[in-house]
């Protein structure tokens, strides 16, 4: 464990102990640059919680969480299963350690499992027999791309990746996307990106608002649209921890509808 992993860094930012020294070091380096970074992590986790609840309320019963990292406190299956006990969740991550970690945490939960997979090869992912055995592609799916697309470089063609997934899923499916953004604090975003790339070896692409919004092309974006993390359907004023105008994360939820005739 000589290289920090995004999954464990995230856990460290959330105050978890599912991480190693390198991960904590990388997280603390980032926090030194942007002291409110843990709050961004918190906002993101809170967005995940709210969006999964929303999808469950909309009747979604199967979730495909790609780039899930380590499903610690407040993760998708907990939220989903609390909202609807028959909800199924499949976690997919590229990091074999995170997948092994997930397997340990998910042991005994029949409705949640984790597999290793690469978001950059969506066609392979869609035809993976393990995916097919859990996700029924004839029924709406909730696809969670939470804090993962910013780990894909432009060369990985993230927009095409999302489009491929979108085209493969039935109408009524939802896409939940959150993404680190340079929209509000471009200088700090640039510094963070640089540091992550050079010191931690974890390239993070801070994308602009338009760029992030265009991930929802072909989808119907639900209210309130693509917004700062804390502003996406907060439960109450009191739940807004971050100062919205300063948030480093943008988020939104889109639905695949029948094509307009």
């Amino acid at each position: 464990m000589e290289v920090p992993s995004p999954a464990r860094m995230y856990d460290a930012l959330l105050g978890g102990s599912h991480n190693f020294d390198v991960d904590r070091q990388a997280a603390s380096n980032a926090t030194a640059l942007v002291p409110d970074l843990p709050k961004v992590a918190l906002s993101n986790r809170a967005f995940l919680r709210r969006s999964v609840r929303y999808l469950a309320d909309m009747g979604i019963r199967q979730f495909l969480d790609i780039g899930s990292g380590i499903p610690t406190v407040g993760n998708a299956h907990e939220v989903a299963q609390r909202a609807a006990s028959d909800a199924r969740v499949l976690y997919v991550d590229i990091d074999p350690v995170a997948v092994a970690h997930s397997a340990v945490i998910l042991a005994g939960d029949e409705r949640a499992s984790a597999i290793e997979g690469d978001l950059r090869s969506p066609a392979d992912l869609l035809s993976d027999l393990r995916v097919r055995s859990i996700i029924d592609f004839d029924k709406p799916v909730g696809v969670l791309l939470v804090a993962v697309l910013h780990l894909l470089s432009d060369a990985d063609r993230p927009h095409e990746v999302v489009a491929t997934l979108r085209d493969a899923l039935p109408e009524g499916s939802y896409f939940v996307i959150s993404h680190l953004s340079s929209a509000n604090r471009p200088d700090e975003a640039a510094q963070l990106g640089e540091q992550a790339r050079d010191k931690s070896g974890v390239p993070i692409i801070f994308r602009g608002r338009e760029d992030i919004t265009s991930f929802f092309d072909g989808l119907t974006v639900v209210d309130p649209g693509v917004v700062e993390l804390p502003l996406w359907r907060p439960e109450s004023e009191a739940d807004i921890d971050e100062e919205p105008g300063r948030s480093l994360g943008l988020a939104g939820v889109g639905r695949k509808d029948a094509p307009a005739s």
Binding site: L14, L42, A98
Partner: protein, 709 residues
């Protein structure tokens, strides 16, 4: 009394104090619910009798379980658990216990909450670290398992491959070979592992392979192939086709070599068999014509050849059947092989009953003769077939390169010619090549083979000899005589090539060519000089006359050229029209009917059957020159010949035929012939055969004279 209202207020204050602490799992409302519950617990703890401060531990633990792990959470909680708590919750208890006691209880409760928080935090962190370590270990194990599975798969491919695979390090040491590779060599992988590449490719190939390995190392090539033959421990020979490839690291430097081998033993064996079968005679097992000529081409000089042909073999086949013939050939081949092979000679069956023995490094012609003697000796004993004793003999032509030259084609022709000679001289004998005779035969042979091409390449030409009227010495026609300007042999005489042409059948094409050219020339003369009764006389061979298309060919040619039939004379020998040649007679009648002149050539050399001539539609008799020549010195005319000539002329005239004398050389002869009323003549006295230009001059002269006269 503690009221729900005060609990709510305290919980709300508590929740507000925790704002900003990282805890992702709950909404504010959920948090307040939890803190309300905890507030109740704290109140219960303070009130407990006897006092049980340890109840505070559960509160500390609950915060941790709700993921409120930051130490600031403990701080804020403990800060609230003083005046704030007393004010909202503890007032009543304070009254009961006294303020000092309450504060002491709160202090102990602080300790318990902090203890619970710390213990839960420690347990949680340890548990999470444990989980994390287990996950890391599990991932490492999974990776190891994948590696092992991948290796096992590779091993299965490697071990089960039908092709041989070997890995060789840069020092040439074999690191690994599979069963297939070892099996090809008749060894086990253990036999080969750790040995050098020589064990795989054979020590005799090391030199060549070393150079190739150097090229692989240097990057000049990526792969090389070699085919090796191994003597396996079981004594069999294995042919292995081996490709060596360098496996390079990222910088292009070879790490090791991989060899892929295919057992080509069966393929090689099949190739060898096919090679053998294509070069050997199935009946006798001897080398065939193809292999013989390969050996002859490559043979070390000087060379001797014995060309043997069984005498009367056709009779054996015809009278006793092909089984007998085959049996005789097999026995003869076997005996001949035993006779000459110990001397290092090659014996081959060329065709049918023809065998040839090749003697290389053959010092003297006598050596060839000795081999020929040995060959003839094998027929001393009869060959038994089906209870019958067959007496078989052979004839042999013997040649030596010292007399013929080393050219294989020439040697074989010389041997053939000599064999023919031996046959002609009586069977069961061998004949040595006679250079003088052989040269003639060889020339005949080369003329025969060259003739078709010569026709195509216009090597032939016509000369014309005047045919004159004895009455006024005027030229009435020309005999067309064919000549051959051979590019190598020079001018070849008709005496040499006409018989060859007749033997080979080329005479038909040649005759047709002469006919066409003669007719064309006659037509040109007719156009040029306007002599309407001038004719061209063309010789026709017996075989031509027997061609079913002959009449059509002649009439077609006349038609094509536009020459009147009366301007063409065909000369035939007596023998060509003699005997029972009904077809010939019909042909001649047709031609005569069409107006073509017919002449009997060389009359007096054959049977000179005038009675027969009477029945032929012939116009002219050409008396052979031999009847004009004198047998005795000093005399101009042989008296006996003179009488024959006189009688012939008289008889011919009585049959209504013209007579022309050939070979007239002197005026005496001409005078005598005139006296005997011979109609025409040809010979040196009137002009020999000349090229077409000179013939034209003769005509020009004659027409000029006629015009001026």
């Amino acid at each position: 009394m503690t009221t729900a209202h005060s609990v709510d207020r305290f919980a709300t204050r508590w929740a507000a104090s925790l704002k900003g602490a990282v805890a992702p799992a709950m909404t504010r409302a959920e948090l307040e619910d939890m803190l309300r519950e905890l507030t109740e617990q704290l109140a219960a703890a303070v009130r407990s009798t006897p006092f049980r401060p340890e109840l505070g531990r559960a509160v500390g633990k609950a915060l941790i379980d709700a993921h409120y792990r930051d130490t600031s959470v403990l701080n804020r909680t403990l800060a609230l658990l003083s005046e704030e708590f007393v004010a909202e919750i503890g007032g009543e208890i304070g009254h009961e216990l006294g303020n000092g006691d309450l504060m002491a209880r709160l202090s102990q409760l602080h300790g318990a909450v902090a203890e619970g928080f710390a213990i839960a935090l420690r347990d949680t962190v340890l548990a999470e670290q444990e989980t994390t370590q287990r996950a890391a270990l599990a991932a490492a194990r999974a990776a190891e398992e994948r590696r092992r599975a991948s290796e096992a798969r590779f091993q299965a491919v490697f071990a089960g491959a039908a092709v041989g695979i070997g890995v060789v390090d840069l020092t040439g040491t074999v690191l690994e070979v599979n069963e297939a590779m070892a099996g090809m060599l008749g060894l086990t992988p253990d036999d080969i592992r750790g040995r050098t590449i020589g064990a795989v490719i054979g020590p005799e190939n090391i030199g060549h392979a070393y150079a190739e390995f150097q090229k692989l190392l240097g990057g000049d090539i990526n792969q090389f192939r070699l085919e090796t033959a191994h003597l396996r421990p079981d004594g069999r020979v294995a042919n292995v086709d081996l490709s060596m490839t360098a496996v390079r690291d990222r910088t292009g430097t070879p790490d090791f070599f991989i060899g892929v081998a295919v057992d080509v033993t069966e393929r090689r064996r099949l190739q060898n068999r096919l090679w053998h079968e294509s070069r050997h005679d199935a009946l006798t097992g001897l080398p065939n014509r193809m292999l013989f000529f390969e050996r002859l081409e490559a043979a070390e000089q000087p060379i001797g050849l014995c060309y043997l042909d069984l005498d009367g073999f056709k009779n054996i086949n015809d009278s006793l059947g092909h089984d007998a013939g085959d049996h005789v050939l097999r026995v003869a081949a076997n005996r001949l092989r035993k006779a000459v092979e110990p001397d290092g000679c090659t014996i081959a069956r060329l065709a049918g009953d023809e065998f040839v023995v090749l003697i290389e490094r053959c010092g003297s012609p006598d050596r060839v003769a000795r081999e020929a003697e040995k060959m003839l000796a094998v027929f001393g004993r009869p060959i038994e077939f089906d209870g019958e004793q067959l007496s078989v003999t052979g004839s042999i032509g013997v040649v030596h390169s010292a007399l013929v030259g080393r050219d294989p084609g020439r040697l074989m022709r010389a041997a053939d010619v000599t064999l023919y000679q031996a046959k002609a001289n009586g069977s069961g004998r061998w004949e040595r090549y006679d250079p003088a005779r052989g040269e003639r035969e060889l020339t005949r042979h080369s003329l025969a083979t060259a003739m078709p091409a010569a026709l195509a390449q216009n090597e032939f030409l016509l000369h014309y000899q005047p045919l004159v009227s004895l009455a006024d010495s005027s030229v009435r026609g020309f005999e067309a005589l064919v000549r051959w300007d051979h590019p190598r042999l020079g001018r070849v005489s008709p005496g040499q090539f006409i018989p060859v042409a007749e033997e080979t059948g080329n005479i038909n094409a040649l005759g047709q060519w002469v006919l066409e050219q003669g007719c064309l020339q006659a037509q040109r003369w007719f156009d040029e000089f306007g002599i309407d009764d001038l004719y061209v006389s063309v010789n026709v061979a017996a075989t031509q006359l027997r061609q079913p298309t002959f009449v059509a060919d002649v009439l077609g040619t006349l038609d094509q050229v536009g020459l009147p039939a009366m301007c063409l004379q065909l000369e035939l020998t007596e023998s060509a029209v003699a005997g029972d040649t009904h077809g010939a007679l019909v042909a001649l009648r047709e031609l005569a009917a069409a107006g073509v002149r017919l002449a009997i050539d060389d009359f007096g050399t054959g049977y000179s059957n005038l009675a027969h001539l009477g029945r032929l539609p012939v116009h002219q008799l050409k008396i052979d020159r031999s009847l004009l020549s004198s047998s005795r010195k000093g005399e101009v005319v042989d008296p006996a010949h003179d009488k024959i000539v006189a009688a012939t002329i008289s008889l011919a005239h009585s049959l209504g035929l013209d007579v022309l004398a050939e070979g007239v050389e002197t005026t005496t002869q001409a005078d005598r012939l005139r006296l005997l009323q011979c109609d025409g003549a040809q010979g040196m006295l009137f002009g020999g055969p000349v090229p077409v230009s000179e013939a034209a001059e003769v005509l020009a002269c004659q027409t000029g004279r006629a015009n001026s006269a």
